[in-house]
């Protein structure tokens, strides 16, 4: 059916999975507050939160099965939203699974942690659905506030406190940019709805207006901060390093994917005609992000900071999908987000099992000779890193993610051939640090007297096994995921202006 979003009951129907998650999260908040903090309580709430996420996934799958659509309005009902929702929910599931055991080991007993993850996920789902700048802003705030708290959850760790404060201050600052950008865009076009913005830019021919351009610029800065694009990335390494490891995984995978999804939707639906003016900015943003992320990662000795810079580099790759600007590019975005989420989660799951209790940072040297004592764990880590590198077969689906991305870049209406070459060249740089981890794990000796590693708990082991199997399986037969992500492409909307050849020919 087609939802008429002006009818309240139908609006609720369009928001069905989001409502399941939010109502459930509120109930769980009550449960978390019901008893004093303890290890057992934390675990119980965590398990319930996982059940809730599974129910929400079921709701999303149900909505996919119905195949509803909505015309216009502030909420998108399309494949792209559901696909991004699934990425977010899988990441939330993984986060909660990892943190139940991580918290038990680290002595973090706040049961609210799991509920905060759920709230953050709810904000992300709103972000994925939002087709109105106000709704998008709402989603970003719900997501971010929960993420600020999560970053500083480990109160005994000074590094976590530093991370949380830094994240909060810079995040609030970026929100200001975002809001100002939204205001200027509204001023230029008289609407906050994405479709209408696009239509009015065409109708009023305001694509060159300074107010709109400044608005788009500020919006880009706000999103650039959320997705950690260079030069708005400064917070990422500190926060990723200080936050509890499962939360780091959540931020690297889900927060980034959700913010990117919204960013991509805004570009695809609203600023088509302004693209030529802004494409060079995005082009350079992508290039600088890829280069800086990859080059700086080479110098890292702390493995969480290394992955933080790697995730910055992946922001650059994903910007290519935004820039490529076609239904193909949006499905490449989804494919990439799935692959990236799987690999990131796996890698952080490995880190969380190997972390010390004393809160010392995880250094690369701690991984020396890991293969000789924990062969499967080291092999799994190698698979995740090779997936992030985009290596075929051994890196599984990671290769096809890059492949799809390059396909989108090369078939774009804009000439992005140079960008495609930069993508692969910076990938070579990234081989330098991903392989360094592999080298340390496989080729170096375990130092004498190195501490024994603790065995991973059952939930962490499940996360490890599931992510590895999916990565490798999809690496052999990516057809299924390709089909799903094609179903999640943002189609050309009716009544939406099409990029004319003349406009498209101006290249960055």
């Amino acid at each position: 059916m087609t939802f008429d979003l002006l009818v309240p009951s139908q609006l609720l129907g369009a928001l069905f999975p989001d409502l399941v998650l939010m109502v459930g999260a509120m109930v769980l908040m009550l449960q978390a507050a019901w008893r004093p903090d303890s290890a057992g309580h934390q675990r119980r709430v965590g398990i319930n939160a996982m059940v809730l996420v599974v129910l929400t996934i079921a709701a999303v799958v149900y909505m996919i099965g119905r195949g509803d659509t909505a015309e216009g309005g502030v909420i998108a009902v399309d494949g792209f939203r559901w696909a991004v929702d699934l990425v977010i929910l899988l990441a939330a599931l993984g986060t909660i699974a990892l943190s139940i055991e991580y918290n038990a080991r680290e002595g973090i007993h706040q049961a609210e942690m799991h509920v905060l993850v759920l709230f953050a996920a709810a904000g992300m789902m709103i972000l994925a659905a939002g087709r109105d700048l106000m709704i998008i802003f709402l989603g970003i705030e719900i997501m971010s506030v929960a993420a600020y708290v999560l970053a500083g959850l480990n109160r005994r760790s000074p590094r976590a406190a530093e991370a949380a404060i830094k994240y909060f201050l810079l995040g609030a600052f970026a929100t200001g940019f975002l809001l100002y950008g939204i205001a200027l865009i509204y001023g230029a076009t008289g609407s906050t709805q994405l479709g209408q913005i696009g239509a009015r830019i065409a109708a009023y021919s305001v694509f060159g207006s300074p107010m709109l351009l400044v608005g788009i610029g500020l919006l880009t800065i706000g999103f650039g901060f959320k997705v950690a694009a260079v030069p708005f990335h400064m917070w990422a390494p500190d926060v990723y390093d200080g936050a509890p490891t499962p939360i780091t995984a959540f931020m690297a995978a889900a927060v980034k994917s959700a913010a990117f999804a919204s960013f991509a939707r805004i570009w695809y639906e609203s600023f088509q005609l302004s693209t030529q003016d802004w494409a060079p900015i995005l082009w350079w943003l992508a290039v600088v992000t890829m280069v800086v992320g990859n080059v700086v990662a080479l110098a890292q000795r702390n493995i969480k900071r290394l992955l933080a810079y790697s995730s910055i580099a992946h922001t650059g790759y994903l910007l290519v999908a935004v820039l490529a600007y076609s239904p193909l590019a949006s499905s490449a975005f989804i494919f990439y987000a799935v692959a990236y989420t799987l690999a990131t989660f796996g890698a952080f799951a490995v880190i969380s099992t190997l972390e010390d209790r004393d809160g010392r940072p995880s250094m690369l040297a701690d991984y020396a000779g890991l293969w000789h004592v924990r062969p499967w764990l080291a092999t799994a880590m190698a698979v995740y890193l090779l997936a992030l590198l985009g290596f075929p077969i051994f890196g599984g689906v990671g290769f096809f993610a890059k492949w799809y991305l390059l396909q989108a870049a090369l078939s774009s209406v804009f000439n992005l051939n140079a960008l495609a070459v930069i993508v692969v060249l910076t990938s070579v740089i990234s081989a330098g640090y991903y392989l360094q981890v592999v080298r340390v794990m496989f080729m170096e000796r375990r130092p004498e007297g190195a501490a024994d590693t603790l065995p991973a708990g059952p939930l962490t082991r499940t996360v490890l096994a599931v992510t590895t199997v999916i990565i490798l399986g999809l690496g052999l037969f990516p057809g299924t995921l390709a089909r799903w992500s094609q179903a999640g492409a943002i189609e050309e909307y009716r009544g939406r202006p099409v990029v004319t050849e003349a406009r498209a020919q101006v290249r960055p």
Partner: protein
């Protein structure tokens, strides 16, 4: 034989089986290795035996191809074509012609010998070592049989990781440096090729679905349907030139070859380098003939080939380390292959293919011999040896024969290939040929001098005296004997190989020439019957 093979549908299943069998073997080894419990010695004994049987089965299965492949047919032989990723137009397409047939046979026959060569030298983590060797085999065979460019690329990259780990875990002193260098060099070239492959596939797209099949792309590029063929050729050529390696891209080779364990060096030299030259023959030349045969491009490639020949030989002359000497001699030999390919006559092309095969045999054998003496003496420095022939006569005999074949003495395989290249190249490239021919003298100089210092000089060092009674054992003799037989057989009667590759080489030369913008009718002897020449000599 052909009838028997047909009756079991051999051509229908052989390539998938050849690709799948090593993976099964690797899985068996990994599972067996992960159970642990057994002592290192029993683990070593069981894993090497398992690996050997798998490789032997692979070799026996592959031998049937000699009869079942009809090399005169213009169609792909033993072809299998299955949809892989329909959304992206990628297919699992594999098939053979005369050229890839020889390389597949070379690979499958050398692998059991490589296992025998590392029988006692690899002592720890043996399950993983042999498992990686098996995976590596699938990758190498995949490259030679792939007829879909995406599948080709995947196989091309897949080999990197096992080789990286083999060098990095079981290698020598500087293994960490060498393995990373090997990986990064190869990857830079390959990733640009990835962009080029994708670009080609999208240019051939039908109904929004890209097409990566070799035949379709061949049609596309020959109909002139793409622009920028110079850049595409450069991307492909860079990937292959690094692998070959051509002159300025060769610096990874001495490091990797020297640091790798014996089996790794053998595979690197005998098979993996050939992927580069195979890539030129299969992809870079036929797909982009105009770019490849552009006078400037061709001139640069020929010059680099000749520089590689002379430079490799000169550098080999001054190496104090025998393994490094062999490594640099590879640069020189592969220069011959490149000269033969870019001279583009049927004889030179066939000569290039013969050098490809015989370099695999001779250099593989040299690396095995280096490994054998290193296991006993724990040094590779030429100056540390002397008079070995007195204490290890069998070793000395094998080393002499193999060294002579590597030099290219008439009667050995080395002569046939290099002679054909020189004869074939002379009509079109007399100047280059002249310079290349000088390296035959250099080859004699560096190898004979090294052989003299190792096995003939007076036996003065007590460490060498202690080698008495440690001559090659039956395993080592057994694994060298087939190589020596091959050396002499090809040297005396190369006709079977020339016959198998003739049709494919002729087709290739015609294919490239017909697309050349201004076909030069240079004075060339009748290109129709080169195989007869080779056989008659």
């Amino acid at each position: 034989m052909t009838a028997l093979l047909d009756s079991i549908g051999y051509n229908g299943w052989i390539i998938p089986v050849l690709l799948g069998l090593p993976l099964v073997g690797a899985l068996v080894l990994f599972v067996a290795g992960s159970r642990g419990g057994a002592s290192a010695a029993t683990a070593m004994a069981s894993s090497r035996l398992t690996a050997f049987w798998f490789f032997l089965a692979e070799a026996v299965l592959a031998l049937g191809l000699w009869w079942s492949v009809d090399v005169t047919s213009p169609d792909w032989q033993a072809m299998v074509d299955v949809a892989w990723i329909p959304q992206w137009g990628a297919r699992f397409t594999v098939g053979l012609d005369g050229i890839s047939l020889m390389l597949v046979l070379l690979t499958t026959c050398l692998m059991p010998l490589a296992v025998l060569g590392s029988w006692t030298s690899v002592r720890e983590k043996t399950h993983s070592f042999y498992g990686l060797l098996l995976i590596l085999t699938t990758g190498m065979l995949g490259v030679f049989v792939a007829l879909d460019l995406l599948f080709f690329y995947v196989m091309w990259e897949v080999m990197l990781i096992p080789m990286y780990l083999i060098i990095g875990i079981w290698g020598g002193q500087r293994r960490l440096y060498a393995s990373l260098k090997f990986f990064l060099y190869t990857m830079i070239g390959s990733l640009l090729m990835l962009v080029a492959i994708l670009w080609l596939g999208l240019a051939a797209a039908k109904g929004g679905v890209p097409d990566f099949s070799y035949d379709a792309l061949l049609q596309l590029t020959r109909s002139g349907g793409i622009g920028g063929s110079f850049w595409l050729f450069t991307a492909f050529a860079l990937a292959f030139a690094v692998k070959v390696p051509m002159f300025p891209f060769h610096t990874w080779l001495p490091d990797a070859h020297v640091e790798a364990p014996t089996a790794g060096s053998v595979i690197l030299a005998a098979i993996m380098l050939k992927m580069g030259t195979f890539g030129f023959v299969r992809f870079a030349l036929p797909l982009f003939p105009e770019a490849a045969m552009h006078p400037t491009v061709r001139g640069v490639m020929l010059a680099l080939a000749v520089v590689g020949i002379v430079y490799g030989a000169l550098v080999a002359l001054v190496q104090p380390d025998f393994k490094k000497l062999v490594a640099y001699s590879s640069v020189s030999h592969l220069g011959f292959v490149m000269l033969g390919i870019f001279a583009l006559t049927v004889e030179s092309m066939q000569g290039a293919l013969v050098v490809t095969i015989s370099h695999g045999i001779s250099t593989g054998a040299l690396f095995l011999l280096v490994g054998m003496i290193y296991e006993r003496r724990h040094t590779r420095m030429i100056a540390d040896f002397g008079g070995i022939a007195k204490v290890m006569p069998i070793f000395a005999a094998f080393l002499t024969i193999v060294a002579l074949s590597s030099i290219g003495v008439p009667g050995t395989n080395g002569f046939i290939g290099e002679f054909l290249v020189l004869v074939g190249s002379f009509p079109t490239q007399p100047f280059h040929t002249l310079i290349a021919a000088t390296s035959v003298i250099f080859a004699a100089a560096y190898l004979l001098w090294a052989v003299q210092r190792i096995i003939y000089n007076p036996l003065v060092k007590p460490e060498n005296e202690a080698l008495r009674g440690m001559d090659l054992n039956w395993r080592e003799i057994g694994l060298l004997t087939p190589l020596v037989i091959a050396i002499l057989w090809i040297g005396v009667y190369p006709k079977p190989i020339l016959h198998k590759t003739e049709a494919a080489a002729t087709r290739l030369v015609r294919l490239v020439e017909s697309a050349r913008p201004a076909p030069r009718t240079a004075a060339r002897p009748d290109a129709g019957g080169p195989a007869g020449n080779g056989g008659a000599r």
